[in-house]
């Protein structure tokens, strides 16, 4: 289902204002922050300044995260005195995947199947409990996010009669803005960033990159980005437009 931006709404670009508005409209029971264990920790910091220790946070534990990320999740939990709901994949689906495809099928078959089991299914389960969620997604993270709004109807997980709102408070921030905030407010961060990992995901699918590389190049680097048979290319004459 295609999403709809709130184009007619007043444009809010200050992440703190977006968060305040989100909590005011949805409260603490129907809204949660998705925390990946990376630099989106700034959302946890900002939200904790707004709603204190009750900030609702969940994180997707794929089972393949770096040890540093698991320790970082703990550090964040202790620093802010919050609960982090750590979500795990469905055991039966995961066991079936590993039994039939092995532990590294993503290097051969692409990462979609593994991500579907380890991330998307648990995420969908969690979002089924909510009316809105908050992500750390930014426009500068990938070419598919260049039109990312601060607020949108979540076209991926909404259902007929049950719209899910997605807030992206950092949409207009650049990576530099995030890191300036982290330094200014002494926010804890994942030590993997100091090892050249700009985008942090599962251990087998994350690598360090050079300063001139786009952060997306640090993820699933063995896959061919040009392999987009389903894309409507029109011999590359039609500008790519994001599907909401």
């Amino acid at each position: 289902m295609r999403g709809k931006d709130f184009a007619d709404s007043p444009v809010r670009t200050d992440p703190r204002e977006v968060l305040e508005d989100a909590f005011r409209r949805f409260g603490l029971e129907r809204l949660a922050i998705s925390f990946s264990g990376a630099e989106d920790v700034v959302l946890v910091d900002m939200a904790s300044r707004i709603v204190g220790r009750n900030v609702p946070v969940f994180s997707l534990d794929t089972g393949r995260l770096h040890a540093e990320t698991y320790r970082f999740l703990e550090a964040v939990r202790e620093r802010y005195g919050i609960e982090i709901e750590v979500l795990s994949p469905d055991a039966a689906q995961l066991e079936r995947l590993v039994r039939t495809k092995g532990l590294f099928s993503f290097y051969r078959d692409g990462h979609a199947e593994c991500c579907a089991v380890r991330k998307i299914q648990p995420l969908r389960r969690k979002l089924g409990e909510l009316e809105a969620w908050i992500t750390g997604q930014r426009q500068d993270q990938s070419v598919t996010r260049t039109e990312l709004p601060v607020e949108q109807v979540d076209s991926a997980f909404s259902m007929p009669g049950r719209l899910l709102t997605k807030f992206n408070p950092l949409a207009h921030w650049r990576s530099e803005d995030v890191w300036a905030y982290i330094r200014e407010h002494d926010v804890p961060y994942n030590p993997l960033h100091d090892q050249g990992m700009r985008s942090i995901g599962c251990e087998p699918c994350t690598r360090a990159i050079a300063a001139h590389q786009h952060e997306r190049e640090g993820r699933w680097w063995w896959e061919n980005d040009d392999d987009k048979e389903c894309g409507l290319h029109a011999q590359n004459r039609i500008p790519a437009r994001a599907v909401a």
């Binding site: 997707l60 689906q93 998307i120 985008s199 894309g231 011999q235 004459r237 599907v243």
Partner: protein, 113 residues
């Protein structure tokens, strides 16, 4: 309700594999008869109706479905979500997983969550 199915023809003239797969599944499940129109998005012709519909609805991949119901238009890029939302039915564990994979295909940002 009026349903339009947009499938793609590649620059080579071949149908895209995913579109062919979805069309076969529509046929097998008997749902093809519920589709009002089948339109081609031809990569060799950006004026083809499917390419024009893709631009109008801001869709950048195929296949996709346009559902007009009660004067409201909804565009689906995930086949199983389209089937579930429009025709109903309970998802099975297998279909849920397949839908999750299709969600990633249609929403590549999700793998970075």
């Amino acid at each position: 309700m009026r349903i339009t199915f947009v499938k793609k023809v590649l620059a080579s003239g071949e149908p895209c594999a995913k579109c062919r797969d979805v069309e076969e599944r529509l046929e097998r499940s008997g749902l093809m008869s519920r589709i009002d129109r089948v339109v081609v998005a031809d990569e060799r012709d950006e004026t083809s109706e499917g390419m024009r519909l893709a631009r109008r609805h801001n869709v950048d991949r195929a296949p996709f479905f346009i559902v007009l119901s009660d004067e409201r238009t909804t565009v689906y890029t995930v086949y199983l979500k389209f089937v579930r939302d429009v025709f109903g039915g309970e998802p099975t564990p297998g279909s849920e997983l397949e839908e999750a994979r299709d969600l990633l295909r249609a929403h590549p940002d999700l793998d970075l969550v």
